[in-house]
Amino acid sequence: MREYNSLIFEVSREGRKAYSLPKCELCEDEINEIIPEEFLRTSDSKLPEVSEVDVIRHFTNLSNKNYGVDTGFYPLGSCTMKYNPKINEDMAGILGLNSIHPYQPAETIQGSLKLMYDLDKMLAEISGMDRITLQPAAGAHGELTGLMIIKAYHQNRGDLKRKKIIVPDSAHGTNPATAAVAGFDIVEIKSDDNGAVDIEALKRVLDDEVAGLMLTNPSTLGLFETNIKVIADLVHEAGGLLYYDGANMNAIVGITRPGDMGFDVMHFNLHKTFSTPHGGGGPGSGPVGVKEHLVKFLPVPVIEKKDDKFVLDYDRSESIGKVKGFYGNYGMMVRAYSYILTMGSEGLREMSETAVLNANYMMNKLKEHYHLPIKQVCKHEFVLGGLEETSLEVSTLDIAKRLLDYGYHPPTIYFPLIVSEAMMVEPTETESLETIDAFIDTMIKIAGEAKENPDLLKTAPHNTPVRRIDEVRAARQLIVKWEDE
């Protein structure tokens, strides 16, 4: 069934069913006597008519086409697609944790509140922040929460003219998008030749209208921002705050902390650094950490400990309010908590060290065959700029498509925008030397194919259920749901 490519509507046969229900004893009335006319549909519901075995085979065959960290190597830069230990799933499946209801009174869910309270303390220790909110549902939601806190901080001081957020041109696209959604004007600054913040460019845009600077460290190029103290001092002297995008945190856990670098507020991506599922709907989790001077603005409720009891504290007059229904994606908190406990503090440091080692090993093996724009020791990921020999006209997209033929998920491509033909590779710490070597060999083989038979790359992939996709048509005629006709 490898070639299986049907829609479930194509399997459908009129009158076929996967259920057998007894006669309904309550349905003697006509439907329109029970439900008002305006709520009744006038056309058929167009559901597929299939048997149980049809449904099982259809979805099992589709699921076999999935590619994930459980099936193979997934070096998607900036996404930290590490293996997620199954003990996380066991813990999240514990009946007492997965069967609670958010409307339960706090005194009946003390264990879960303790878990959240402890996770807050652990993330605070890891990051050098003072308090954490676990509410945000993912990274960009965390960014929005963080910027709302920055806005509340300035407004609370009566400083109403700070409407600008500075974002480097290498930033994750979510940074300027978040600043726009939070109602700020965005000031972009160019990076220097090494992809770092250009200190002179930063000085030129700093004034009393700057609310803050959003930054990742290591940078989007996977390089440590060595000027971070200078940057933090400059922004603080101008009266602004520093926001840390935690996307690249896998490089620094147990080694350095955003709080020590001078950041005031940050988000974590539990689905990156702390091994909760990433992609495929996650769900994600983007806790936000703040320094002491911002704690009073955190979203409600904050979990507090009073007389050995955990309580949900809503009585916080300067809070930015709620940012998510209930308390966040709780199942992800259980997984991250399990991960932190299983790793321990030594293990977390080793995690980052191994992630950095793996990336440097791979970078050094590949730089002979691919263009490496900035030749420095990298952190957890590195950015290549296409093939060393540009005359071949083989693009990064062609290389990525060819990787599919060899059974790999390709690296992130065409990001960051400041590197042409960018290919961003993040091996993570969970891969063995054998897996990493096999990927390196494949990349070298592809570089050879580009010389000998460039058409093989330009027409790739050849071994996948769907061949090269017409991306222009996909972007312009987006059809995401089945329609009859």
């Binding site: 263009h371 700029g385 065409y414 990001f415 042409s420 991306e471 222009v472 312009r476």
Partner: protein, 128 residues
Amino acid sequence: MKVLEELYYSNEHEWVRVEGKKAYIGITDYAQHALGDIVYVEMPELGEEIEGGDVFGAIESVKAASDVFSPVSGKIVEINEELENSPELVNEKPYESWILALEMSDESELKNLMNSKAYKEFCENEDH
């Protein structure tokens, strides 16, 4: 990479064609090549006043979305509506597919732009 002699060029890879007081603005062959297949051109409003260096729209390709900057100041007097349904024209004929025309408010701004020779050199330095 094609560079036409009679045009002015900005370091954000826009070109300017001058017809009297009118300036037609588009993106260069280098820019369209770097962007890849273009799927959408976001246009400004007719009659809008823009300053040189301001963003007046965006071009979306399969790779990324990029702002388009106006190399000169003025009032928008024409919009190339053809690009709304056929953005691929920017890839196919970058120097014919102007995005908008401005009535320039300060023609001396043209002096800050590059000629074809300077722009060619500029692009060579951009490549690795």
